[in-house]
């Protein structure tokens, strides 16, 4: 492209980004005069907000990066972004921890003869790769590229690269490949795609196995949709699953299935609806192929009551806009493909395809393969036919089922080149390590699903001597004397965008960081014959106890985020276990075996076995055991031969009590609320007539009285708020040892409380900023006091650390610094400069993000106006995917919190104590 265009785009996109603000390092006591002044609009000491895209999981949520003093200090969901529209999950919040991860590769490494890794320059490294490629070609061995899921321009560049250098691109690797679903849709409609589901368009959602709120394709997006859907009255959500997932916990009703009986359920429904004759009829040959499942059989197989099954069918029939989503655990089973097929048929039969299920906006999984491809790779490695093996931004070694023995077979490749960011165990399996830049350090774009273009642009200079994948491919092209049309990947991108987008679009793209592009409608035809052929084998045998479900983890996705300290610090929302792995078990079953929390048991399947501590999981089926999938890499899981999906449900698992107990960091002191009405059932009411309630006169608030409302109907317990709070407020991550002692530092925590029936309610608990706060008067030095704007302030510098305030806090939300908080370099760069670092011996707690209030006030005073409603958004509220948390001024009668605090659903926790909190919760229904 021409220089002029490039410069124009550069101006358009980079704007202020690249120039470090006049940053000052207080501790060093220096003031720096830079060569050139930061250009207009950039003020030293003021933060920048740059668009980007989250790379922590394939969903590709839009980001707003807060850059302060040249350092990215906070990630926020980008408002209006088609994928996540403002929300961001805990993994997204933790992405910064990957950027500043102490174990990041700092420069290229090569394994020497002794097996030690020696640093070398990029130049040497790339030359080496080129030579090896060449040599392998001459020896007639194949050079392979195995990459994680890529989208957008990078995919194209990769293909280009492979074509040019004769490298064979393998189908991309994702363990959550949704292969069964894609294959099923391929069989049924000739579209091997992952459609985009529109929950917000539905009035009845029946989800089978798909963990929409944890890892299924785009959790934040689906959570957002759910929040819109639930606002329309009459919305019903039924979730069917063998185990217990966060998704199930949030559904209107959770249908507990016997493992493997999903297909039976679906065929029953198909037949019922067919026989009702209301909905579109299915082709005859399909009907014949359908396993004939009567209500009785269905009941026996699924374990649901016959009456319930009938009612389910009726509900589906009566619903105007029903939506069925099958996936996740449901398709990760020996008969997963059938389940997917039947689901597809039901979707077709009830007319969801094309309306609530959009193939036109299909999720971008086209390039992703399945485990079959890994199997093939393994075979080829066996036969020593692989020269250079490039593995880019993927960790098959840790994720792929142990049965494949990839680590062993990898060794057979000529040169194993790993493009990765962390120097972890799987990285050590390579011969040559090329450090990848973090998405926040690099240029790029993403197309999470058809019709969405999302921008990546550097928010800060690379911390280490690393490069983005694109840059590496281009370099390799150039070095192998192949025509590389662009000097840099940035230029390459600009070129592509320049070609694809017109002026207006470019403008928009640069400003808002994303684009919604028009999509072409996809014609769909049900191919009955092919489908009928595949339906055989849908029958299900009743699972033999125990069944072990390897549930996907909201904390680490498929395990890739497990290496981020923050995510081990945050407890799993259902079990409240932070550090360590555990086996979830139904209380009844545990009682039968006289097992309690933390008791060790040995689970064994086939020749594999593991010793795990037990954690009681109310609501879990008695014959089902559950463990977070990412915690069991060594489990030898079978692969579904038909779909290439990983089978995540094991039957006939053996269980043996070991009699000893292990240390396990369970944060919840009790999983029941002992009828204390923290989450009130309608019965509970402890209101006291005000004149009786207070001994001393209410103190006045002048202009503002800050308050928060938390809508428990919207809260899904995903703990994104907690993660956001950690990052925003520099909350120290203290690690396993202190968690075992109950010394976690979270300012905001999600408290799950289970009722007798095992239904869970989630209560985000943070400082309630009480009007009559018990913590304040007991402080001997005024470190805790109540400020005129209704904040319960903790002055760290004044605190002497008597800990009386924490003792006297009925909500137990104050945290004491038992040690001097440690920030292993370069993590300290992540610290939010707007907040003081707390020292050892000081009490700390939620401040209602006082620094954000201060920022808003500063702005308001510049414009000589009061702070507007919604101008102050706390970190937790910003991150919440469902917008359950609102913050504002209680004195402003127009404000949202004023309205919500007066809704008939509003209540305050422990109102009977007369503390008069400023946090109002809105009870369900």
């Amino acid at each position: 492209m021409e220089r002029r265009d490039f410069l124009q785009l550069l101006g358009l996109f980079s704007g202020a980004a690249m120039l470090p603000g006049c940053s000052e390092n207080r501790s060093a006591g220096k003031l720096v005069s830079y060569l050139v002044p930061p250009d207009e609009g950039v003020l030293p000491g003021a933060a920048l907000y740059l668009p980007s895209t989250c790379g922590e999981c394939p969903a590709g949520c839009g980001l707003t990066v807060r850059v302060s003093e040249g350092r990215a200090v906070k990630l926020e969901g980008r408002a209006g972004h088609p994928v996540n529209d403002g929300g961001l999950c805990m993994r997204g919040q933790a992405a910064l921890w990957r950027l500043y991860h102490p174990e990041r590769l700092r420069n290229p490494l090569r394994r020497d003869g002794a097996g030690q890794f020696q640093p070398l320059s990029w130049d040497e490294a790339l030359t080496l790769v080129v030579e090896e490629l060449e040599q392998a070609r001459q020896e007639g061995r194949a050079n392979l590229l195995l990459s994680g899921r890529t989208t957008g321009t990078l995919t194209e560049l990769q293909q280009h690269f492979c074509r040019q250098l004769g490298v064979e691109p393998l189908p991309q690797f994702e363990i959550f490949s949704h292969a069964a679903l894609r294959k099923a849709y391929g069989i049924l409609f000739g579209q091997a795609e992952l459609p985009h589901y529109r929950i917000d368009q539905a009035d009845l959602l029946l989800s089978i196995g798909a963990d929409l709120l944890e890892t299924f394709v785009s959790p934040v997006g689906y959570a957002r949709q759910f929040s819109r859907a639930i606002k329309q009255d009459g919305f019903q959500w039924l979730h069917a699953e063998p185990h217990y997932s966060l998704t199930g916990a949030n559904a209107t009703e959770r249908l507990v299935l016997n493992p493997g009986s999903e297909a039976a359920l679906l065929s029953f429904l198909l037949l019922r609806i067919e026989s009702s004759g209301q909905e579109g009829r299915l082709p005859r040959q399909l009907l014949r192929a359908l396993p004939a499942v009567s209500a009785g059989q269905a009941a026996r197989l699924t374990g649901l009551a016959e009456e319930r099954l009938e009612r389910l069918a009726k509900q589906l029939l009566l619903a105007e806009r029903p939506l069925l989503i099958a996936g996740g655990i449901a398709t990760g089973q020996p008969n997963g493909l059938q389940t997917a097929l039947l689901a597809g048929l039901l979707q077709q039969q009830l007319g969801m395809i094309g309306s609530r299920i959009e193939f036109a906006r299909a999720e971008n999984y086209a390039a992703v393969g399945s485990l079959h491809d890994l199997q093939r790779l393994a075979e080829r490695l066996e036969q020593d036919r692989v020269g250079v093996l490039l593995v880019c931004a993927a960790d098959p070694l840790a994720r792929a089922p142990a049965a494949l023995d990839l680590p062993g077979k990898f060794k057979r490749a000529g040169l194993r080149v790993g493009l990765c960011d962390l120097f972890d165990d799987s990285a050590r399996q390579f011969d040559l390590l090329l450090p990848l830049s973090h998405p926040l350090e690099s240029w790029g774009d993403a197309v999470p699903r058809k019709g969405v273009l999302s921008l990546l642009k550097p928010a800060l200079d690379p911390l280490h001597d690393s490069r983005s994948a694109g840059e590496v491919w281009l370099e390799l092209l150039r070095r192998s004397a192949k025509p590389a049309e662009s000097a840099s990947y940035q230029e390459y991108l600009f070129d592509v965008w320049h070609r694809r987008l017109d002026e207006r679009q470019l403008q928009q793209f640069a400003e808002q960081g994303y684009l919604s592009l028009p999509v072409a409608a996809v014609p769909l035809r049900l191919q009955a014959e092919r489908a009928a052929g595949q339906l055989a084998g849908a029958e299900t045998a009743v699972a033999a106890p125990w069944s072990l479900v390897l549930a996907p983890s909201i904390r680490s996705f498929d395990g890739r985020s497990g290496s981020l300290p923050l995510l081990s610090e945050l407890p799993d929302p259902l079990s409240t276990v932070s550090y360590g792995r555990w086996l979830a078990m139904a209380p009844a079953a545990a009682q039968a075996l006289q097992l309690e929390d933390r008791d060790l048991v040995r689970v064994a399947a086939g020749d594999w076995s593991a010793d795990l501590p037990v954690r009681l999981q109310p609501g879990l089926a008695a014959s089902v055991l559950m463990i977070q999938g990412d915690l069991l890499p060594e489990a030898s899981l079978p692969i579904d031969p038909r779909s290439g999906e990983l089978v995540r449900v094991l039957d006939g698992v053996r269980l043996e009590k070991l009699g000893s107990a292990a240390q396990l960091a369970i944060l919840a002191g009790s999983s029941s609320q002992h009828g204390r009405g923290l989450i009130p059932d309608p019965a509970h009411h402890a209101e006291i007539p005000p004149e009786q309630s207070r001994f001393y006169r209410a103190h006045p608030h002048k202009e503002y009285r800050w308050a928060m409302t938390v809508d428990l109907e919207l809260c899904i317990g995903c703990a994104a708020c907690a993660a956001a709070c950690y990052v925003e407020n520099n909350v120290p991550v203290v690690g396993r040892r202190d968690h075992l002692r109950g010394r976690e530092m979270s300012w905001l925590r999600i408290e799950p409380f289970y009722d007798q029936a095992g239904r869970a309610g989630f209560l985000p608990m943070l400082c309630q900023h009480c009007h009559n706060a018990p913590c304040e008067p007991v402080c001997p030095v005024y470190a805790a006091y109540h400020n005129p704007e209704g904040l319960n302030v903790q002055v760290y510098q004044r605190c002497v650390g008597t800990r009386y305030c924490s003792n006297n806090c009925p909500y137990k939300v104050r945290r004491f610094n038992w040690w001097q908080p440690q920030w292993q370099a370069p993590l300290e760069q992540m610290r939010n400069p707007d907040l003081a670092a707390r020292d050892r011996g000081v009490m700390e707690k939620c401040t209602f993000c006082v620094q954000r209030i201060r920022r808003a006030r500063d702005r308001a005073r510049d414009e000589e106006r009061p702070i507007r409603d919604g101008e102050v958004v706390t970190a937790c509220g910003q991150s919440c995917p469902t917008g359950a948390i609102r913050f504002g001024n209680l004195l402003d009668e127009q404000s949202a919190v004023y309205r919500l605090a007066r809704s008939e659903r509003a209540y305050r926790v422990f109102a009977e104590l007369g503390t008069e909190p400023s946090v109002y919760y809105l009870r369900k229904g």
Binding site: G669, G742, L763, P777, P780, G801, T802, Y804, K812, R840
Partner: protein, 431 residues
């Protein structure tokens, strides 16, 4: 000439205590000093690392340290009780104990005063708790019970010191006469040149009365204030009105036990049998019994009322105390403080020193455990079930606790060798 001789003998007997120490004494002293130094080391360790080295956690922010504080303040109580209150009630047997008891008060207070400092997160700015004009123009928060503590403890310390010193004044003058060399010098300076003229005696008598009158309400109020450290909170099991009388009784119970623990061996070692008779011990034992009864009454009322009001938090907490994680300690406390002392209703046991000594040991233990149970259970099991947790002291805390005993006994041993352990000028009246 008989009473004169008796007086002379008394002086000799009592001042025998000031003779050159024997090896057992030195050994004991060394052990105590060692314990104390060890504790100092541990404290240093804690200061360098942070309070993480203790077992304290969320939600249990107070543990062994505060337990020790309350315990030692409690010990400090019977000292002033025995000298001041019994003086007002003209109980004759007072004079056999008061000197030792007052000394005990002072030492116990010195030890107690350390623990709030040890438990502070940032002890290097402890002076924020004192009202002094600073450039910050910030003052302590007088609404906080912890500030009341600062005032209560220091007041109690000062008044006790004055009281102790006044009582010793004439005896110092005697020591001055009977000893020689530099010690005589020291004693004579300390005795302010006391001559025993009727003018001095007159003022002495009246001052003693005033001080007793001031000290008596002080005794009650100080431990009431300590009890309010807990009672003003809203925690179930802490926030209850009976705490003030209950703590005072408990304090006197433990203190009296400690007096017995100290005086029984003292009487033996210094052959003071003629001056400290069994009847005196019986009288003290009766106080022990009475206070134990009051404490038991408080236990009963606390428990009864927890269930009387149907307050779910209270009920659950008291269930937890008796049956929960700390139940063993709870029952130990019941046995030691309520049941064992009941045996003192039997006169023969009251008058059996060995038995009395054993009971006192048990009571002291029991009272320590009581404070521990009371402090920890309420914190471990309060309002929000999610935040429940259990606390186990770390070896640092245990070490420092032992050290506090070391310090206490070290000070007392030094006292035994430097100050007449009986108030001679008072005993002379009895002769």
């Amino acid at each position: 000439m008989k009473s004169l001789a008796a007086r002379e003998k008394l002086e000799q007997d009592v001042l025998k205590g000031l003779r050159r120490p024997g090896k057992w004494y030195l050994l004991g002293l060394a052990c105590c000093a060692l314990l104390f130094l060890g504790a100092l080391g541990l404290w240093g360790y804690q200061l360098s690392r942070g309070l993480g080295v203790t077992g304290l956690m969320h939600p249990v922010g107070w543990g062994v340290y505060i337990t020790n504080f309350v315990f030692w303040v409690g010990i400090a109580h019977s000292g002033t009780l025995i000298s001041a209150v019994l003086f007002l009630f003209r109980a004759r047997f007072r004079s056999s104990f008061n000197r030792a008891a007052e000394a005990m008060t002072i030492f116990a207070l010195m030890v107690a005063g350390l623990f709030p400092l040890i438990h502070l997160g940032r002890v290097w700015i402890f002076y924020y708790l004192f009202p002094y004009p600073s450039q910050r123009t910030l003052w302590p928060n007088f609404r906080s019970p912890l500030v009341w503590d600062v005032f209560a403890i220091s007041t109690y310390m000062i008044v006790s010191l004055v009281f102790f010193y006044l009582g010793t004044l004439p005896d110092l003058a005697i020591a001055r006469r009977r000893l020689s060399g530099i010690r005589a010098r020291i004693y004579s300076v300390l005795s302010l040149g006391w001559t025993g003229s009727h003018g001095q005696w007159k003022q002495y008598g009246r001052l003693y009365l005033f001080l007793a009158a001031f000290a008596t309400p002080l005794v009650a109020s100080v431990h009431s204030i300590v009890s309010w450290d807990f009672a003003v909170s809203i925690l179930p099991g802490w926030h209850t009105t009976i705490f003030a009388p209950y703590f005072v009784a408990g304090a006197i119970l433990s203190g009296t036990a400690m007096v017995i623990i100290l005086v029984v061996p003292l009487r033996r070692a210094l052959q003071l049998q003629p001056y400290i008779s069994i009847d005196h011990f019986e009288a003290i034992a009766k106080i022990l019994l009475l206070t134990s009864l009051i404490v038991s009454y408080a236990y009963l009322v606390e428990y009864g009322l927890a269930f009387y009001g149907h307050n779910q938090f209270e009920m659950e907490l008291f269930r937890y105390r008796a049956l929960g994680h700390y139940r063993a300690l709870f029952w130990l406390m019941i046995v030691c403080n309520s049941l064992v002392p009941l045996t003192l209703f039997i006169r023969r046991l009251r008058r059996n020193l060995a038995y009395l000594f054993a009971v006192s040991l048990l009571v002291t233990l029991g009272m320590w455990v009581e404070r521990f149970v009371l402090i920890v259970t309420s914190l471990a099991h309060d309002f929000d079930p999610y935040a429940w947790g259990t606390y186990t002291p770390s070896w640092v805390e245990i070490g420092i606790t032992c050290g506090s005993f070391g310090l206490f006994f070290m000070l007392f041993l030094i006292f035994v060798k430097t100050v007449p352990v009986l108030s001679m000028s008072e005993l002379k009246e009895r002769l």
